[in-house]
């Protein structure tokens, strides 16, 4: 059975792109979230194998969402989607419990490598 993924990003463009990269590699994207609180909610409902999480989102940011999710599921496998210059935020996200990160602009091969590391 293929792994299930929840894709969290406030930009449709990014969600589409990440979904495409993962779908082409055989993952099943079971849900998308536009805000941190949606991400927390959908994680509870869907129990995906993997979450991709943007850092900056309205309502609740990605790092707070990581904290919320990890509070209920310490084994949650969350991959942060960050941008150059977000060094401090990435460090904070990892401390909060994120398992790995990728940096925009995304290269499919690097995204998949990171996914393998998180799931492996």
């Amino acid at each position: 059975m293929s792994h299930t993924v929840l894709v969290c990003d406030d930009a449709i463009f990014m969600r589409t792109m990440i979904s495409d990269i993962l779908a082409q590699a055989g993952f099943e994207v079971v849900g998308e979230a536009e805000t941190g609180s949606q991400a927390v909610e959908k994680y509870r409902q869907l129990k995906p194998d993997l979450v991709t999480m943007d850092i900056v989102m309205p309502d609740m940011g990605g790092i707070d969402a990581v904290r919320e999710i990890v509070k209920h599921d310490p084994d949650a496998k969350i991959l942060m989607c960050s941008a150059m210059g977000q060094q401090a935020l990435v460090v904070e996200a990892i401390q909060a419990g994120a398992k790995d990160f990728v940096v925009k602009p995304f290269q499919p091969s690097r995204v998949l490598e990171a996914v393998q590391r998180v799931l492996g």
Partner: protein, 634 residues
């Protein structure tokens, strides 16, 4: 146990830690309220102390111990830096460096640190506790060894793990933290250097180390670290704990051995020479194979070519060293100079990770030192002058390394007053360096004037740059390395020196050109293209024969005439266009005999030789050929 075999390692590692101390002190000076650098300082000094104690260098150990006491108090107190404290710590660091260097060469007796020791103890006492907190047995008190009663042994430390992330890895801090999290799964991690807070900074360059306890083997630790991704290098050292080995099976050799060894540079030079000879023989074999037209010989020749090429690439790679190994001492140097001269200077280093042949890098220290000194002393204006001109109070100096095609460009740039061309022009006219009717100096002419031995640009002689000498030293040294140097200076805006250096000295690809009966090699580094003379129209520009190539004037140099070769040049012959930064020149030769790899041999030019040769090489057929110096021809 004979410790002398470890002296070199001790020296190398102590230097690294002391260099880190400089960076940390500078960091603390920049933001005095942020006390995180103190933790790093404490650990660095602590490590040096432990190593020195193991080596039996009592004075180094003592000095490090006093410095550590003070740092420990500062670390616990979370106190902001004061100027007085920083000066003391800088002094202590310098004294420690000197003590380390003297101890290693067996001149420990000459170490005199009484004054700085007294000051360290005084400062520690003023901070509210007795001088020797080591006796107080805090968290960092150390057990006293039985074999050397006066000397403390290092704290139980676990294995030292050193990690380098890939240069291209983005957000290295995040990656480093992940690696540490992964390592924590196989054993307790401590003594992370730089401290984790440094991972949040974009300055973090991807090199970090930590100690790991527990029973995990080297392979397991390395595997855990690598699973974080983007890891270039992991070195897992042996257990540093100096207690009797626990009963039971000793750790296997594979677990305790580091995967890196230090090799004497002389060995690498020897290997390079041998490979050089191999390359020469390979050339001869290829010529024979081409001549024999025997498929069996051909096959062997091809294999020998491939193998020797790979061997050569490996050995060149082994010689490559990142420039930070030389650059890292400059921030402190610039700071000290600026302070001495009462100037404010922000110094930045870019491209630290760029690699160069160790032999070239070792030669770069002095020229860069001269240029940086000049920038601080003559480039950056005094505070009052900068204010008057409406410039930022803080002058800026940037040292940059950039990889270009076949070379590395290193530049030293300041935003100071620029070079006073009028004054230099007057002087140049007096000295007869330029035409007495010249109205302005081009950048090239400016450099030529500045590069004259002893030429002074300084109004006043200062203790820093002496008489403005230094540029001639830099120019000579860079040219001797087969490199070039350019200057760009704008009055009121600043000066930039750009040096271009070959990545390696030993083997280069070169064009082989024929003139008369001789062959000459021209390294490809600076060859832009070749065109044909006799087909291309020539013109006269500023009294020199030139061709126009894509709207740019390229002055010509007839090698035949330059070298005084008699006889008639062919009607149509190749022009090799050299390009170096903004400068171009077309070298007219009789014919082109192909490209090949040549082994560069040093060459002592007899007096009176034209300054256009940089060395010599042996061609595949065993006949020597001279190597043309692109810098000299331009």
């Amino acid at each position: 146990m004979d410790l002398s075999q470890y002296a070199e390692l001790f020296l190398a590692e102590s230097r690294e830690h002391l260099s880190a101390c400089n960076q940390l002190l500078l960091e603390w000076e920049r933001s005095p309220a942020n006390s995180t650098p103190v933790g790093g300082l404490f650990r660095a000094v602590h490590t040096v102390k432990g190593m020195a104690a193991t080596m039996g260098y009592a004075r180094v150990t003592d000095l490090a111990h006093r410095a550590e006491n003070l740092l420990d108090l500062l670390r616990r107190g979370g106190r902001p830096a004061t100027d007085e404290l920083l000066q003391l710590l800088f002094r202590a660091r310098d004294a420690l460096e000197q003590a380390v260097e003297l101890s290693v060469v067996g001149r420990e007796d000459e170490i005199d640190v009484a004054e700085v020791v007294a000051d360290l103890d005084g400062a520690a006492a003023r901070l509210g506790r007795g001088g020797d907190v080591g006796a107080g047995m805090g968290a960092h008190a150390m057990p006293v060894s039985e074999t050397a009663p006066d000397v403390e042994m290092p704290v139980v430390a676990g294995r030292l793990v050193q990690v380098t992330l890939r240069a291209e890895a983005p957000l290295k801090g995040g990656r480093a933290l992940l690696a540490i999290k992964k390592a924590q799964r196989v054993g307790p991690v401590h003594a992370v250097t730089p401290p984790e807070s440094a991972f949040e900074s974009d300055e973090f360059d991807g090199r970090f180390s930590f100690r790991i306890g527990g029973a995990a083997g080297a392979a397991e630790i390395e595997g855990a670290v690598r699973s974080a991704g983007d890891v270039e290098h992991v070195t897992v050292g042996g257990e540093e704990r100096r207690t009797a080995p626990a009963a039971g099976a000793p750790p296997s050799a594979a677990e305790t051995k580091s995967r890196h060894i230090r090799v004497d540079l002389g060995r690498l030079d020897g290997l390079m020479d041998l490979i050089g000879e191999l390359v020469t023989v390979r050339g001869r074999l290829n010529e024979l194979a081409a001549y024999a037209r025997d498929p069996v010989i051909d096959d062997v020749a091809i294999q020998v070519s491939r193998l020797s090429r790979e061997l050569q690439a490996e050995i060149i790679q082994a010689r490559m060293t990142p420039v930070w190994q030389v650059f890292d001492r400059f921030p402190r140097l610039v700071r000290d100079l600026a302070r001495e001269l009462g100037k404010q200077v922000a110094f930045r280093v870019e491209g630290k990770e760029i690699e160069l042949d160790r032999a070239i890098l070792d030669e770069l220290g002095d020229p860069l030192l001269h240029l940086l000194r000049n920038a601080v002393d003559h480039g950056i204006e005094p505070l009052a002058e900068r204010r008057r001109l409406g410039k930022k109070a803080e002058g800026e100096i940037v040292l940059t390394a950039v990889r270009e095609r076949g070379s590395v460009a290193i530049s030293v740039s300041d935003d100071g007053r620029g070079i006073d061309r009028k004054r230099i022009l007057e002087r140049a006219k007096r000295d007869g360096v330029v035409d007495p009717h010249a109205e302005a100096l081009t950048d090239d002419q400016l450099l030529r004037v500045l590069a004259r031995p002893g030429f002074s640009t300084a109004e006043a002689v200062t203790s820093v740059s002496g008489r403005g000498v230094g540029i001639d030293v830099a120019v000579t040294r860079i040219r001797a390395l087969g490199g070039t140097i350019e200057i760009r200076s704008a009055e009121g805006k600043g000066t930039t020196f750009i040096m271009r250096l070959p990545v390696t000295l030993a083997i280069v690809r070169a064009l082989i050109a024929g003139v008369g009966a001789e062959r000459y090699a021209l390294p490809l580094t600076y060859v832009a293209e070749t065109v044909e003379f006799g087909v291309q129209a020539t013109t006269i520009v500023e009294g020199r024969e030139a061709i126009v190539l894509r709207d740019r004037v390229v002055p010509l140099v007839h090698l035949r005439r330059l070298l005084g070769v008699s006889g008639e040049a062919p009607k149509r012959c190749p022009i090799i266009v050299l390009e170096m930064g903004e400068r171009r020149s077309g070298i007219v030769v009789d014919g082109m005999l192909g490209q090949q790899e040549i082994v560069v041999k040093g060459f002592d030019a007899p007096q009176g030789t034209l300054p256009v040769f940089s060395g010599a090489t042996i061609m595949g057929d065993g006949v020597p050929a001279l190597i043309l110096d692109a810098g000299g021809l331009l």
